[in-house]
């Protein structure tokens, strides 16, 4: 297996799917001539030409709708949002058009489209550029939502998303683009809806996804080292549908759980995970499930405040100590 960055794994997924299916095309701001604001679409314009790698005006609502229209007419658009922060402007098209047209038409018109781009905070981009929309998007029936944490999952999930006959949201991370990992060549598909145990363990379950997988794994290491505690790290990978079975199986085994997410706490993805656990694994829980989230504030610019606002191995460790009643 080749070692690739998360960025190049996404790029490879796009290239392979565009080679495989002439109806796949990408559109968004700066995806062509500029090679992508974060270079995820690097080289595609040269290989596939301007009809299939389409630079759009700054008009998120409009070009999201253009993608949906093209999908209604049978193409497979991959819409890039330079960042998901800007997709706030496009939510009407994602929610009222993409997610509903198949249902409203009584199943006549599928909308096979992918909306992708970096989600959540990077470094010091401040309040308007540091938002994670995981919970919002996963709230919507008619959508599928995935959030790969590794290069291999990034490739496998994006390829599955492009082949899916439904609108699929792919939440990436600017802070993940440069991370490296082994990526299977060619046909590598990760099924949408399956979580992945990134580290097996017996004493406590750490549920996480996307950017919070790394700090969770780090916390698991510290737990093993400092406290001899064996933590199982469950990477959700898919936020809609959630892989309830994998979550329940893990917690039924460990009887304790901490749920970590990048977004805000109030009605976040973690709340839904907690709901599932207490409902399906009530009797096996030895302690309340605790959550680690972004501080419930708009993201500040100052780097120390920003760091303090984000989930961290230390915060995960502290929460884990509490579910283990070690404090």
């Amino acid at each position: 297996m080749a070692t690739l960055t998360y960025r190049d794994a996404l790029n490879q997924a796009l290239r392979e799917e565009m080679q495989r299916d002439a109806s796949v095309f990408v559109l968004g701001e700066e995806v062509g001539v500029y090679q992508g604001a974060y270079k995820v679409s690097r080289g595609l314009l040269e290989e596939f030409g301007p009809m299939r790698v389409l630079d759009t005006p700054i008009a998120e609502l409009g070009f999201a709708g253009v993608g949906v229209g093209a999908a209604m007419a049978g193409l497979r658009p991959v819409v890039e949002f330079m960042t998901w922060n800007f997709a706030l402007l496009a939510l009407d098209q994602i929610v009222n058009s993409a997610a509903k047209i198949f249902y409203m038409s009584g199943g006549q018109i599928p909308v096979p489209i992918v909306f992708r781009g970096p989600n959540g905070a990077a470094l010091q981009l401040a309040a308007q550029h540091s938002q994670a929309w995981d919970a919002w998007l996963a709230h919507i029936p008619g959508l599928k939502v995935v959030s790969p944490a590794t290069p291999a999952d990034a490739k496998g999930l994006l390829k599955s998303a492009i082949r899916d006959n439904n609108p699929v949201i792919v939440l990436e991370g600017e802070m993940l683009y440069n991370t490296k990992g082994e990526v299977p060549e060619g046909e590598h598909l990760v099924p949408i809806g399956s979580a992945d145990v990134k580290r097996p363990g017996t004493d406590v379950t750490l549920v996480c996804h996307s950017k919070t997988v790394a700090p969770a794994l780090k916390a698991a290491e510290l737990l093993a080292g400092e406290l001899g505690v064996s933590a199982e790290v469950v990477d959700l990978r898919s936020l809609r549908p959630l892989d309830d079975a994998t979550i329940i199986a893990s917690v039924s085994k460990t009887n304790r759980c901490v749920v970590v997410e990048e977004g805000w706490p109030h009605a976040g993805i973690g709340a839904q995970v907690v709901d599932i656990i207490q409902r399906e694994a009530f009797d096996s829980l030895d302690a309340p499930v605790l959550r680690v989230t972004q501080a419930d504030v708009p993201m500040p610019y100052n780097k120390h405040l920003e760091r303090a606002a984000k989930p961290s191995p230390e915060k995960i460790l502290a929460a884990t100590r509490r579910v283990l009643y070690l404090d």
Binding site: P57, G62, G65, M72, L75, Y103, S105, G106
Partner: protein
């Protein structure tokens, strides 16, 4: 521009246009009755007074062309050939409706006829039209996409984003603004700095025409020019001046505080159906007997549609969860 048919062919065509306008008029009248009887629910926006627009415009299309509409789209569906019974059944929410009873009056769909809905967010379907135009160009097809919307949609951002992209990318889309003077209870001049919608075309380097929407032949000719232009790869903005006789929707007053009964009565003197009927009678193309016959036939068709809708079953309860996602 295609050669306009001569002599008999032209008369035949005009008789067909008359029949279609009558069908729409009678259908809407029946829908109003059924709504009053509680057989139709939700929002129901009627087309009475505007018949010449849908009938004239759709007469220019080929079977493989596309049509997108707002929530005021019963007429376009009927004229496109969606059986009256399937449209009425949809208004009744029945399983036999053209959207299986899941869409209702505002969300009529018939993929087999390129009738892509029925959209209820003002301006929301304009970007979809641009996207469908893009898909046509992508496949080097010769189809066009007709997109109908009201004048109030011109004030919303999606209109501008959609027109700009359609022009930049030279797409086969005809944007048909049905200017009936009011958006719900608001006269256009109270909320638009410029009331000649055609003027907006200048900002997008787009061809445009101001059209008398009370004369079906005028609408047909103008649309024919626009469709021909579209097939050559250039979008057009048509502003069609028309008038709505009834309230904004069945939940709204017939005249309301925003216009006078006199104004409505005055407008009715320009009635598109009466105008064409007179012309045909004057030219001797049709006599009163034939006219009555035509009307009787249309009424019978609509009656049958109501019977059919009434007699049709509700969707199976399992339909609630069907078509949320495509396989």
């Amino acid at each position: 521009m295609t050669q306009a048919p001569q002599g008999d062919a032209q008369l035949e065509r005009e008789r067909r246009l008359l029949r279609e306008m009558l069908l729409v008029r009678r259908f809407e009248e029946k829908a109003a009755e059924a709504y009053a009887l509680g057989k139709i629910g939700g929002f129901c926006h009627l087309y009475v007074g505007q018949e010449a627009v849908a009938v004239g415009a759709l007469a220019t299309l080929q079977p493989d062309d596309y049509i997108l509409c707002s929530y005021r789209e019963h007429a376009q569906a009927l004229v496109r050939g969606v059986p009256a019974r399937a449209v009425m059944a949809e208004l009744f929410g029945k399983a036999t409706g053209c959207s299986k009873g899941k869409g209702g009056s505002m969300h009529l769909f018939d993929a087999s006829r390129g009738f892509l809905g029925g959209h209820a967010i003002v301006g929301g379907h304009l970007p979809l039209a641009t996207g469908i135009g893009y898909a046509i160009k992508y496949r080097q097809g010769t189809q066009v996409c007709l997109c109908f919307f009201g004048e109030a949609a011109v004030n919303i951002g999606a209109f501008h984003e959609a027109l700009n992209m359609a022009s930049v990318w030279k797409l086969p889309v005809v944007f048909i603004c049905e200017n009936n003077r009011y958006g719900m209870g608001t006269a256009f001049e109270r909320v638009a700095a410029v009331t000649d919608v055609v003027e907006h075309a200048c900002s997008y380097d787009m061809a445009a025409e101001l059209v008398n929407g009370m004369d079906v032949l005028t609408v047909l000719d103008a649309t024919e020019r626009a469709v021909a232009r579209a097939r050559r790869g250039h979008p057009t903005l048509l502003e069609v001046r028309t008038y709505r006789y009834m309230g904004h929707s069945m939940s709204d007053p017939l005249y309301g505080v925003y216009r006078t009964k006199d104004e409505v009565e005055e407008q009715k003197k320009r009635d598109p159906i009466t105008q064409l009927a007179h012309r045909l009678k004057d030219t001797g193309a049709i006599d009163q007997a034939a006219l009555d016959e035509l009307d009787a036939a249309v009424r019978a068709e609509v009656e049958a549609a109501v019977k059919y809708a009434d007699g049709s079953p509700d969707p199976d309860p399992t339909e609630l969860f069907a078509h949320v996602l495509a396989d």
